[in-house]
Structure formats: C-alpha cells, structure tokens
C-alpha cells in the first residue's frame, strides 16, 4: 500500500516537475507545479504528516499557485522567447543540476541503511493527533518565531500593496 502510493505519486511529481521545465507557456508550467504540490501532499500524508498535507493543499496549491495563475492571467504573459542569455544557461544549467543531483543522491544512498524504512506505527501519532502535537510545540517552545512570522506577513502585505499600487500622477 505504502509502496504503491509512493511509486504512483513520486512518478506524478517527477512528471509534473519535468513538465514545468519543458513547457514553454508559464500557465502550463504553473499547472504542472500544482500537480507536483498535490502529489507531495499525498506523500506527506503517507509519512504521517496529515496537517502538513492539508496545509500544503490549502496554502501552496490553493493560495500561492492561484496567485501565480492569477498574475499570469492578469499580465497575459505569452510564450517564452529565447534570447542570447539562454544558451549560456543551457550550458550552465544542465550540468549544474546534474551535479547537484549526483551529490545529493550519493549522500542519501550512502546513508540509506542508517535511515531505515517508513513505518506507519513509527509515525508520531498514538494518542494525540498530529495537529495537537504540532500546535503544542508551536505555541510553547516556538512561540517567538511564530509571532515573528506574523510580523513578516504584515510587512509582506504592506510591501505588496506599495509595489503593486498604480502611481498617481498629479
């Protein structure tokens, strides 16, 4: 069950990510990113993080990506044109990302034995639900960072309003 879930949604995530890379039109890229995020939500669920799975769907695919799609629609962004800079990017981009991938997977495969397998019983569940556990740590030990994020969001809202407002010429 766990294996089937993992294979299906990992394949879906990789396909979505590749589609993001290959599509020329930003709206197609945005939609394939939504697919990646939704399949990641299922994978979070399979790792026992049900609150994060729901938050992933609501915050990432439901709010952030909708904002992206909205801006693409608003600016009526067309297909990408390839200009002089992009050829250099191919030479830097493909080897660079391959190098990153090789390094990361080398480390993970080396430590594979030590990491062990996914056990559903091992998941932090038990008597308390996942949400209760998260909120307990969040509102006691990590209260200050939590409050600071609210200030961050406030600043972000103000910044977005100031930046996106049309300048009035008098």
């Amino acid at each position: 069950m766990q294996l089937a879930l993992f294979i299906i949604f990992a394949a879906l995530a990789i396909a979505g990510a590749l589609n993001l890379l290959l599509q020329k039109h930003p709206i197609n890229s945005a939609l394939s990113l939504v697919v990646v995020m939704l399949s990641l939500a299922v994978l979070y669920w399979s790792l026992g993080a049900e609150f994060l799975a729901a938050a992933q769907v609501i915050v990432y695919s439901g709010a952030i990506m909708v904002l992206f799609v909205f801006v693409i629609m608003l600016l009526n962004a067309g297909e990408e044109e390839h200009t002089t800079g992009s050829r250099a990017a191919y030479f830097a981009g493909i080897p660079g990302s391959l190098a990153v991938f090789c390094l990361l997977s080398f480390v993970f495969l080396r430590e594979s034995k030590a990491l062990g397998n996914v056990h559903m019983s091992n998941a932090p569940a038990g008597a308390m639900s996942n949400i209760a556990q998260i909120s307990e740590v969040l509102f006691t030990k990590l209260l200050l960072p939590f409050e600071v994020t609210s200030i961050l969001i406030l600043v972000a809202i103000l910044g977005a309003v100031v930046l996106a407002r049309k300048e009035e010429h008098e």
């Binding site: 294996l3 990361l104 993970f108 994020t149 910044g159």
Partner: protein
Amino acid sequence: MSTEVPIAAYLILAAILFSIGVGAFLIKRNVISIFMSIELMLNAVNLTFVAFAHKWGAVSGQIFVFFVMVVAAAEAAVGLAIIIAIFRTRKTLNVDQINLMQN
C-alpha cells in the same frame, strides 16, 4: 518485508525535484517561470524535512515546513507584486531584457 519504502527513496525523490528546480531556474527565461522553479526547490526541501521528521519521530521538522510555507506565501506576495511593477515599466517578462542596471 519488501513492501516497505526506505526513507532514502523519499530523499532521492526530493533530490530529483530539487535538481529539476535548479535546472529550470537556470534555463527558464520568464520571470514567473523562474519564480515557480524556486517554489519547486522549496517544496523539494520540505519533503526532506518531512521525511527526516518521520525518521526521528519528532514534529520539529514538520514545524519547520510550516514556517517555510509561511515564508513562501510572503515571498510569493512580494515577488509577484515586484513582477507586476516590472511589467508595468518594461512591458516584458523576459529576464534578458530586464537589464536596466547592466550598462
């Protein structure tokens, strides 16, 4: 049991997604697409956090993901506002043509 998934599989999936994100970040020429590949990289990192949180049976990894989501939301709001402002003045989304500071 053969049906169990090693945690390393999740981590390698995250590595694949992250590398695709890096590649897309360098290859894409549209500001919005570049921004989306950053989101893809953030998501890949989130997956490693959740996988490690599962490994250690602790929730602090999940809380880190929660904070990453909050920061990503704030970043998306400001970033998209900047993109809209750029588009208003330059009438283009191609990063090669947004080179006012270059010369």
